[in-house]
């Protein structure tokens, strides 16, 4: 017990110093000089967000636990306040070398709580994205600093400025969950935040939805004001969204178990969602009109961009993401009036929504039902082609199968999923993520999914969505751009001719290559992701020429 006595002595000295001469920005609000230190194994500290950082003016709660063998062992320090930071995860865990013992870390007995707090302050000022705990945040910090700053600022605004309490009832929360996500389409600045939240909500559905509920009113207020700016924002927003989608998938890969668990949890939340559906539809009606309006305004932009062809990669990707975004939006729209179509979209919700997109927002275009049919077939084919590509890789295949199984099996789940698809990020992503949910009888798949093959599956998913985009591109722009029309004509003609089989075969190696590219590149950086998309386009282009 000499150790305990000595630890006590040491802690008294430490706390005394912390109280009298705290490191810059740090404080111990719950302690005073005469506190009974001997009973303390956990110290609550607060750190102010450093001036001129994105966390400025925020006050972050920090929990410091002193181990028995302190100072031989490092204190365990976690954030109590949610923060958007490359090195701090959703659970508040901090990736900081001095918080771990060597050789992994750099803790040494000559350090102390004061130096730890100072280091954390520095970490807030200068995140270390190269050793990121949060993949998407790291990536954003490095390559899309603006988006990162925005998210970090709004997280700070939301959680680190007091009054972030208020735990609501969960069913309520899930319902409100939808509103802010839908407002995303209006491109309000808030939406970036929401996107990040929808990401994290996969890990902690309840906690996040609680937060969302706090935000929902304000973000829906925002939407009107932001209407004009939306087009500008859109570009940034969706660009980053795509990146996030990728980052998130990576995350899934890394922590498979966690994700599996949380998927189960999500499952629960979705059930609730579907129970709430009637209210949501009512709510949606209001939004849908706005959606439609913003749809069109947003839609003109990418199209012109597509006419302008691949002048700049950024534009390209914007277009991609915007068009990816559209299907679910219109699905919403259609769902409002004809709920059945959404429900029936067991197998390929995206395709369905694609179709509905073309019918809803491009009813005036030259598209006819007969044209839509092969169009859809084309997509289906592609999907199958994808799947057989996968078969060659031998990993994705089973997943692909499960995917379809899952969709067939659970219309209820599917329905809610469609709603959640409203969020652009989740749309691309929900697919792989919700797979185990659908096929809950085959739990094992979760493991397979989340491990190795996942990247590929996601790669392929990404791909297929890109394909959709292309297909959509072709169909929507068919009456507008001569070259595009030509291409789409070629494609459709090919299909009508029944040569689609041959095409598919040709398609396979291309697709595979793209898959590989995509999964590799997304490892890299944002640029890589864009590049791969470009590449995908190029390759498809080649293929078209071939066809």
């Amino acid at each position: 017990m000499a150790q305990a006595a000595r630890l006590n002595l040491r802690m008294q000295k430490e706390l005394k110093l912390l109280l009298t001469d705290p490191p810059p920005g740090a404080s111990l609000p719950l302690l005073s000089v005469d506190s009974d230190i001997s009973s303390l194994s956990t110290i609550h500290a607060q750190i102010e967000g450093p001036e001129e950082s994105v966390y400025a003016k925020g006050i972050f709660d920090i929990k410091i636990q002193i181990p028995e063998r302190y100072p031989f062992q490092p204190p365990s320090v976690t954030f109590g306040t949610p923060i958007y930071h490359p090195n701090i995860d959703n659970g508040g865990r901090i990736c900081l070398d001095i918080l771990n013992l060597p050789p992994k870390g750099a803790w040494q007995p000559s350090l102390n709580i004061s130096t730890v707090l100072t280091s954390i302050g520095l970490l807030l000022t200068e995140p270390n994205p190269d050793d990121g705990l949060m993949r998407e945040a790291s990536r954003e910090y490095k390559y899309n600093r603006q988006a990162f700053d925005q998210k970090a600022r709004s997280m700070t605004e939301k959680y680190a400025k007091g009054g972030a309490g208020g735990i609501g009832c969960s069913t309520q929360d899930v319902q409100t969950n939808l509103n802010p996500i839908m407002t995303e389409f209006r491109g309000s600045e808030k939406s970036r935040l929401e996107v990040s939240e929808s990401i994290s909500s996969q890990k902690k559905p309840w906690g996040i939805s609680r937060k969302l509920s706090l935000e929902s009113s304000s973000s829906s207020q925002n939407k009107d004001g932001d209407g004009e700016v939306s087009e500008v924002h859109n570009d940034h927003l969706f660009l980053s969204d795509q990146m996030e989608a990728k980052g998130k998938r990576k995350g899934v890969n890394i922590i498979p178990d966690e994700c599996n668990l949380s998927r189960d949890k999500l499952h629960g939340s979705r059930r609730k969602l579907s129970l709430e559906s009637s209210c949501q539809i009512q709510k949606r009606d209001g939004h849908d009109k706005e959606n439609l309006v913003s749809n069109h305004s947003a839609f003109c932009d990418p199209q012109t961009a597509s006419v302008a062809s691949s002048a700049s990669s950024v534009l390209q990707s914007n277009k991609c993401s915007q068009q990816i975004l559209h299907p679910p939006q219109t699905t919403e729209l259609v769902a409002g009036s004809t709920n059945m179509s959404t429900k029936q979209s067991c197998q390929f919700s995206e395709k369905q929504s694609l179709k509905s997109l073309s019918s809803a927002s491009h009813g005036a275009s030259s598209m006819t039902l007969s044209k839509q049919q092969p169009h859809k077939d084309f997509i289906n084919n592609d999907r199958m082609g994808n799947c057989s590509t996968v078969a060659e890789c031998r990993k994705i295949s089973s997943v692909g199968k499960k995917l379809s199984l899952g969709y067939k099996g659970s219309t209820q789940v599917k329905k809610t999923e469609n709603k959640e698809n409203v969020a652009p990020v989740s749309r691309v992503d929900k697919l792989p993520l919700s797979t185990p949910q659908g096929s809950s009888t085959k739990r094992g798949i979760g493991g397979i999914l989340s491990l190795g093959p996942l990247t590929q599956l996601q790669g392929s998913n990404d791909n297929s969505s890109q394909l959709f985009v292309h297909a959509e591109n072709l169909s929507t722009t068919s009456s507008m751009t001569l070259t595009k029309e030509k291409q789409s004509n070629q494609e459709q003609a090919a299909k009508v001719d029944g040569k689609s089989e041959v095409q598919r075969v040709e398609d396979l190696p291309i697709l595979e290559a793209v898959i590989v590219l995509d999964s590799e590149d997304s490892e890299d950086e944002k640029d890589g992701g864009l590049r791969s998309k470009l590449l995908a386009r190029k390759r498809l282009g080649k293929w078209r020429v071939k066809a």
């Binding site: 000595r6 031989f72 060597p102 178990d257 990993k395 295949s397 089973s398 493991g447 491990l451 190795g452």
Partner: protein, 298 residues
Amino acid sequence: MQNQEGCGGGGGGATSCEFEDWGSFGDEAIIQQKSEISADEAQKIPFVADKEPISALAAEYQSGSPILLEKIKILGEQYAAIRRTRGDGNCFFRSFMFSYLEHILDSQDQAEVDRIKAKVEECRKTLQSLGYTDFTFEDFFALFLEQLDSVLQGSESSISHDELIIRSRDQSISDYVVMFFRFVTAGEIRKRSEFFEPFVMGLSNGTVEQFCKSAVEPMGEESDHVHITALSDALGVPIRVVYLDRSSCDTGGVSVNHHDFIPTTSDLPNSTSGSTQSIQPYITLLYRPGHYDILYPK
């Protein structure tokens, strides 16, 4: 549809196990394995073991290299006993601690205690000037000084030889003293960073400061020549290290070589400055690659 179903049967199952294995092999697993190893080691040997005759060493190498056996034989002529220490990365400091305190206990050399206390104060100032926060090291200093007083007989807190062994095996004391030595060593290296820099460069890629942070101050980091030199210099305590390895002389004859770490500072006891030959280190450690034990001369 057919396609999907068809290819669904192919992959999946076989690959999953493989990946699961990889998935569970992370930092945590490595750390756990390390702690298991150290727990294993702890069962085998206390921080400071009992005295053993040199012949015990010979038994250990019975089927080993003939050079080693030859060397152990020679060792047996000069040294009476060996006291093993636990191979937890702190063995040099732990050996030094026990050996030094035992020397004071045996010799009751008040002058040496006074001298080293003055040195300790110097080290304290060194650390302060290097920017260390007082409370981060003063507990360790206090504990060492406490042990120093205890081994001197004639006061209430005096301890016996057995008690010294018990304390050396008590982690809450032993580790603190080891850490004290680590502080002293780091302080000395950083104080004379110009002198140590070339040596440090040979051991790591970083600066002297980084070296201290990564290889001196953390517990369990093994000691090298640099550490021994610095500690010996900082405390003014000469240390002899006897090397037991498979090296042999060019001439073919086998001899046990040793190196004396003689403090460079001038204020050594019974030393006429400059003549380092006259100094007979009273701390003798046996070095076998990767580990230090305590040797007892005849």
